[in-house]
Amino acid sequence: MLYALLCYHDEDFVGSWSKEQDATVMAKLAVVQEKLAKQGRLGPVARLLPTTAAATLRKDDPPLVIDGPYAETKEQLLGFYIVDCENLDAALEVARDLGAANPGGSYEIRPVGVFRPGAVS
């Protein structure tokens, strides 16, 4: 069974870490990740860029682009995609295509800062 672990934390707080503190946390996480990777159990790992870099596509008709992260609490996270795009417009185009195939709800579009593809199939 594959599990997705979705990371939540206070962005202001994490953003207040010094470079050294950030590096310390990342190094500690790397140890855990390394162990899982050796066992062939680690899939993709991504660290997202801050929510200030996010845009949200509301899958209305016509679809509406909003600045910032997805803010509704009435809906739940049901899945995610990682797509390789030249820029935000290209990412929004992908989101629109997906949205046309499955209207309703929203896509939050967040650039990925760190990405490791992992090795789970």
């Binding site: 707080f13 953003g15 310390t24 860029l49 870099a53 600045d67 910032g68 935000l88 990925v112």
Partner: protein
Amino acid sequence: MTDAAWIDAALTSARPQAVGALLRYFRDLDTAEEAFQNACLRALKSWPQNGPPRDPAAWLIMVGRNAAIDEVRRNRKQEPLPEDEAISDLDDAEDEIAERLDGSHYRDDILRLLFICCHKELPATQQIALALRVVSGLSVKQIARAFLVGEAAMEQRITRAKARVAQASVPFETPGAVERSERLTAVAAMIYLIFNEGYSASGETADLRMPLSEEAIRLARLLLRLFPSEPEIMGLTALLLLQHARAAARYDADGALILLEDQDRSLWNKTMIAEGLALIDKAMRHRRSGPYQIQAAIAALHARAASSDETDWTQIDLLYGALEVVQPSPVVTLNRAVAVSKARGAQAALEMIEPLAGRLSNYFYFFGVRGALLMQLDRNEEAHVAFDRAIALAHSSAEAAHIRMQIDRLKRDSAKNSAKDRAGIRGAAKRP
């Protein structure tokens, strides 16, 4: 991360919101700061024992406010302070105050706090010092170090700035749309000043001042989270990120400045560039251009180019042209001339900067650029004069060292050329 480091980060991140709310409550900066300080002291005692509160900012506002009120009462009636236990169980009260402090309040509290620091009558250095002290919570010692002045002098500077601000009577009502937008513009300018204090530091002080650039980025992100749909704030944040991404490549081992075109681009911070590019993409969608967005777009073209030769100079020339329209300044024209020299040649660039000579007669960079352009046109003697003037005007040894390097190159070239002249080949090579 240790408990102490964790609490430190939590206090830092809660500070703008907490001090902003306390300022709204007490309407006096010193009282607000003192209340926050008291709350922090109590947090250091209470959090390790009782665990961190769910909402540190709300906790600090609540405790800070109560502590200050107690202080007033104590002075009035000599009443004893409540025991620490009385404030350790704040969960219910915390929920209540968190609910009252809705998003719009947070937003205007933090904006007001930033705004009072950029009071028009305060000189730029005082604005920056005040913001770093009050909003960012840097110690006077840290700020003094970054500004390369003594602690006492900085203390005095901040005290003076605070007195000025206290007289200014900033309105505490929720600002209207126009007022809010004016505040936002002033605050953005101040954040850019903070950034430049760090960014323009020369080699030997760069390490000391680098934190200023990082703090400016933190404040810009904070502002953008409060105003997520403002394209100029996206532009500002993008600009800071794209410039700061080059930090590791800007100085050589001796602390001498390395020009953009000579930088090792593999040292550029790719994550920061990605964030900057994402932000400028977002901003452009609004089609409401402004100086920060244009400058960020220029920085983005540099960031996207794998090497200096692959830079889209024509586009950069056009963007500087747009910047000249919205923010006319001889310095902008000078920067444009550098792009023009790449896109259309040194002669065109030189013609563009000649009219600026009067207004930029004391500007280091003007003579540096002029010298470089003259050098490209083989007008070496004139170039030498320009470089000498640049050295005389340099603010830092890194700047001076950079110009000296150019002069050395000139001397080498002219030595080579005079040898060639003697051999009678120079004219044939240069003027077909």
